[in-house]
């Protein structure tokens, strides 16, 4: 099979070819590394390409195959990992100058699980510095390009992972989502992206941004691959006490094109947040398609959506200001050469190491948590968060899933919004509520606006990723949006 044809396959197709000995893992790894070396100059999805690692992992798998050993479930599937997840001995930068030379001495639990599932790691992907942003333009290194239009952003913060999957530079990828950082770039790049329930996936080894919101999830070319990836990464981990000790269902059982009797709620407020008319129309068309497939839908209301952004921009910066206090030049990463005493070392290191967006958020968060302001900001925001959760709980008494647009617009041009941080933040208005409530949500392709992919968000009950994927799978089976590829 020609190299580029192999790269265009889904993860489950690659795993099948490997298992049935039609290709070797080495051939898969070489095909992807070859495509990365010729195409990533254009897309710039990767911060680090782990060629040696990928080849040694694939050789080890091929040896197993040759000796007839039992194969792990996704043997030979090439993955990309967002560069805020620790990989032992491999640079993990968070796309920040302050971690420009950081080589973790341990693997994140999700990375270990990916390797144990037979994954081949192709590289570490670009992000907005410390996952703070919606376009990868806040990366300290470079901006990733949207494979559908290289003048546009891939979304963010997990833009590198989304672009890698969309451009066939990896079959699967891991991202992290704090306010939409998986779903928004998935929508912009025309791929599937899932934020699982808070606590479903271990965050041990994920470099923390906002601890009460951060969650790891997959990017995939279709819902089947998403289900397989979720089966790999989900589950309780003693190293992360926030991970939930609950059974993980067999997500492949969700892959049935049957939504009969499923009740879909369509909260109208999500369509009123400056959402472009084309996107409103595409998402409604998708909702109506479900009625043909046997599901029922009804318009409903979620008034608290209007308070999501303000709540997020208190809670996330507050938690980030605390989490990023660890970057002080003592134990890892950058240390300013101008460090005559410890206090100057801390301040100069942080001044030189952090970019403008990170500094803004640290300042906002430090202020919100400082003496005299805690009740007015952080505590107030946490109370509003309860109200948001209550809105969801009420809707989920009536509905199995909620469907909304993932983003108000399709991918915007590089540079178009960098001057106005508020315009940038509006992008997350549809994804933030699910993050606030800790509920699972997926973005799946639902059409194109002026040649750019559009995503539909499906939100579900806590821990009910299975129903979300069943609904998404039924839609995917009835449409061909996920099969379209950018021309590169």
């Amino acid at each position: 099979m020609a190299e580029n044809e192999l790269c265009k396959l889904t993860a489950h197709e690659i795993a099948f070819l490997v298992r049935s000995k039609q290709v070797t893992c080495r051939e898969v790894a070489e095909a992807f590394l070859g495509r990365v070396s010729s195409l990533d100059e254009k897309v710039r999805a990767y911060v680090t390409i782990t060629e040696d690692l990928a080849l040694s992992q694939s050789d080890a798998l091929d040896k197993k195959i040759a000796s007839g050993d039992e194969l792990p479930p996704l043997a030979g599937v090439p993955w990309a990992i967002k560069d805020n997840m620790c990989t032992r001995g491999v640079l993990t930068t968070c796309s920040s100058k302050i971690l420009y030379n950081y080589k973790p001495v341990y693997d994140a639990t999700v990375v270990r699980k990916v390797v144990e599932s037979g994954g081949i790691i192709i590289g570490k992907t670009n992000l907005d510095e410390f996952a703070m942003g919606s376009s990868t333009e806040n990366s300290a290194f470079f901006t990733t390009r949207n494979p559908w239009d290289l003048d546009r952003v891939p979304g963010g913060s997990s833009g590198g992972s989304a672009a890698a999957v969309a451009a066939d530079l990896a079959a699967l990828a891991l991202g992290s989502d704090t306010g939409g950082s998986i779903r928004q770039p998935a929508a912009f790049c025309g791929v599937v992206g899932m934020k699982p329930t808070y606590g479903r996936v271990s965050r041990y080894g994920l470099i923390a941004f906002a601890s009460s919101l951060d969650q790891i999830g997959p990017f995939a070319k279709d819902v089947t691959d998403c289900a397989l990836a979720m089966s790999v990464i989900s589950g309780r981990d003693p190293m992360d006490s926030t991970s939930l000790d609950v059974p993980v269902p067999d997500y492949t059982k969700s892959l049935v094109p049957d939504v009969k009797g499923i009740k879909i709620g369509v909260p109208v407020e999500f369509f009123a947040q400056g959402v472009s008319p084309e996107i409103v129309e595409l998402v409604w068309r998708a909702v109506e398609a479900f009625s043909v497939l046997g599901a029922e839908y009804k318009e409903t209301s979620m008034p608290m959506v209007d308070y999501g952004l303000a709540t997020y921009y208190i809670i996330a910066p507050a938690e980030c200001s605390s989490n990023l206090a660890r970057y002080d030049g003592v134990r890892y990463g950058l240390r300013s050469s101008d460090s005559p005493d410890p206090l100057t070392m801390f301040r100069k290191t942080r001044e030189e190491g952090f970019g403008p967006e990170v500094k803004q958020r640290i300042m906002a968060g430090t202020y919100a948590l400082s003496a005299g302001y805690y009740d007015a900001y952080y505590l107030k925001a946490q109370k509003v968060r309860t109200l948001i959760r209550q809105d969801f709980d009420k809707l989920f008494e009536e509905f199995d899933v909620l469907i909304t647009p993932t983003t108000p617009t399709a991918a915007f041009k590089i540079g178009e919004r960098t001057g106005d941080p508020f315009a940038m933040k509006l992008n997350d208005v549809c994804t933030i509520p699910a993050s606030m409530a800790g509920i699972p949500a997926i973005s799946v392709p639902c059409g194109f606006a002026d040649g750019l992919p559009v995503g539909m968000q499906i939100m579900g009950k806590p821990l009910d990723e299975a129903t979300i994927m069943r609904v998404a799978f039924a839609f995917e089976q009835a449409t061909t949006f996920h099969k379209q590829k950018p021309k590169l």
Binding site: N101, Y102, K103, V105, Y106, T197, G199, S212, P238, S241, T242, L244, D306, Y307, L309, A310, T311, Y313, I314, S321, A325, D328, G329, R331, Y332, G333, R335, S339, D341, P342, T344, M345, F346, R347, K348, R350, E351, F354, P356, K359, Q360, I362, M363, A364, T366, Y367, S370, K380, Q382, K383, V384, R385, T386, L387, R389, P421, M436, G438, I439, P462
Partner: protein
């Protein structure tokens, strides 16, 4: 309410950031706009609402008190910007 330059400098000090004059000015403009956008939350009566710090019902996670292998001293120091005698080396803290 608006943040003054003095307040911004105080917050920067608390955050252990050393901001340039220019950064203070641009950041201040942004922060003041951000604080204004938070005013919207005042529309909501949250008097009798419990705060949510954690969206899933987990509390007091314990493990058995058993010794297990952990990182070696070498590993822990592997990324240190400066080290001496098996420790992190930092600028002098105690005056002699």
């Amino acid at each position: 309410m608006k943040l003054t330059k003095e307040e911004l400098s105080r917050i920067a000090f608390l955050a252990r950031l050393e901001l340039s004059e220019e950064e203070i000015v641009t950041l201040g403009g942004y922060l003041n706009r951000l604080l204004e956008s938070f005013e919207k939350l005042k529309e909501l009566d949250t008097e009798n609402i419990e705060p949510t710090s954690h969206t899933v019902p987990v509390c007091n996670v314990f493990r058995d008190d058993e010794v297990t292998p952990s990182l070696s001293r070498e590993d822990v120091l592997a990324n240190a910007p400066a080290q001496a005698e098996g420790t992190f080396e930092v600028p002098r803290i105690v005056e002699t």
